[in-house]
Amino acid sequence: MPKPKGVAESVAGAIRRAGNPGRSGHALSIRSARDLFVARERLAALFGVRDSSRFVFAENATEALNQAIKGILRPGDHAVTTSLEHNSVMRPLRRMEEGGVSVTVVPAGPGGVVDAGAVAAAIRKNTRLVAVVHASNVTGAIQPVAKIARAARRAGAFTLVDAAQSAGSIPFSLADIPADMLAATGHKALLGPQGTGFLYVREGVPLVPLIEGGTGSRSESDHQPDFFPDALESGTQNSVGIAGLAVSLAWLLRRGVETVRRKEEELLGDLISGMERIPGVTVFGPRDPSRRVSLVSFLVEGMDPGVVGMRLEKTFGILVRAGLHCSPNSHRTLGTFPEGTVRVSPGPFSTRREISGFLAALRKIASARR
């Protein structure tokens, strides 16, 4: 994903300064601590949260999701999830099953959307966690996470939302979606560097840290601090990457996620209607751009997704992702397992001209398929 201007420069500046946050009182350490603070404050502003200390940095969405799942579930607990989850949710849940947690996977409907009522119906007395993806990374379909979070809360379960695809792409606040935890990566629609991500934890959610260690606070104690963000942030942080994330978050706050969303919906509209007119091309997921995030999964009849991806790159210089997208159950739901699909993802810097170029390329590939 291309980054806004200034992100790379901020990373370079941070690595040249070489300050370590929260470990000293000298100017470079303070500067680095301030980068983390500013990025946290911007995350809080983006998601409508007052207390920015509830945003804990992680290496990626995967680490954040592992922290949430493994930090909340105990033997004897039950967890509810959906058939649309990425492996970063399914694999930690399967691991927890080996340790005495039971898991119910609610299947998505034929449109690739899970029914909030079906998720609510799967909640039992001992359900401690409901883990649900905000938008599928395979079909892009937006899931009814607000309804699910409200139902889970009424039933006394905690909700974890995987916002890897939606954070920075769909405008929402944590007041609209009353999730107890929300995980995302910095490198997708938040437009920051790889190696950045976060977990939001609502106050009062009793999470056990995945890792303990040095926090630069309470150093006299053998025990992990219980206050945020230190409780869940041990060891040297990726302050260099987060310095870049702070800049991309500022760009998003200035531009407004609503503006990004409007533009992406326009591009998606062009993309989907154009693709549907190409003989031999099947598009998956909701037709209505307002019901999906900015990605489109498709197949060209009679062609391996990997070959389509390769031709798009070699002949036309268009980069896409082909395969299972780390989400095998989603493909089972779509009927595209085990080959997977090709996925094209316009971003905030994509143009209508690029969409036309892609459609022309796909038309050529599809017409030459036999």
Binding site: R23, S24, A33, G216, S217, S219
Partner: protein
């Protein structure tokens, strides 16, 4: 740290994030302040503290308590580096 000619008030917070938050709140509240390394005699922590001056103490307490961000401890630093703890925050 240089020996202070006038008494100074040292605010110690739980962690770096809380120091940064307090800095923002104090600046917004018009309280002259400075980030300083935590004086060794106060704690073994490797982080930061905030230094203000006695006349600004009440205002600092007011803006910080409004933000629910009171320091973990408050100390008076006088000439000769005597640290007195202020119990009232």
């Amino acid at each position: 740290m240089a020996r202070a000619a006038h008494p100074e008030v040292i605010l110690i917070f739980r962690g770096t994030h809380q120091v940064m938050s307090a800095e923002k709140i104090l600046k917004r509240g018009g309280v002259p302040m400075r980030l300083i390394p935590v004086p060794r005699r106060l704690t073994s922590d490797c982080g930061l503290a905030i230094r203000i001056f006695p006349p600004d103490k009440d205002r600092a307490r007011k803006v910080l308590s409004r933000a629910k961000l009171l320091p973990r401890s408050v100390h008076i630093l006088r000439e000769g580096e005597v640290y007195e703890e202020e119990p009232c925050w």
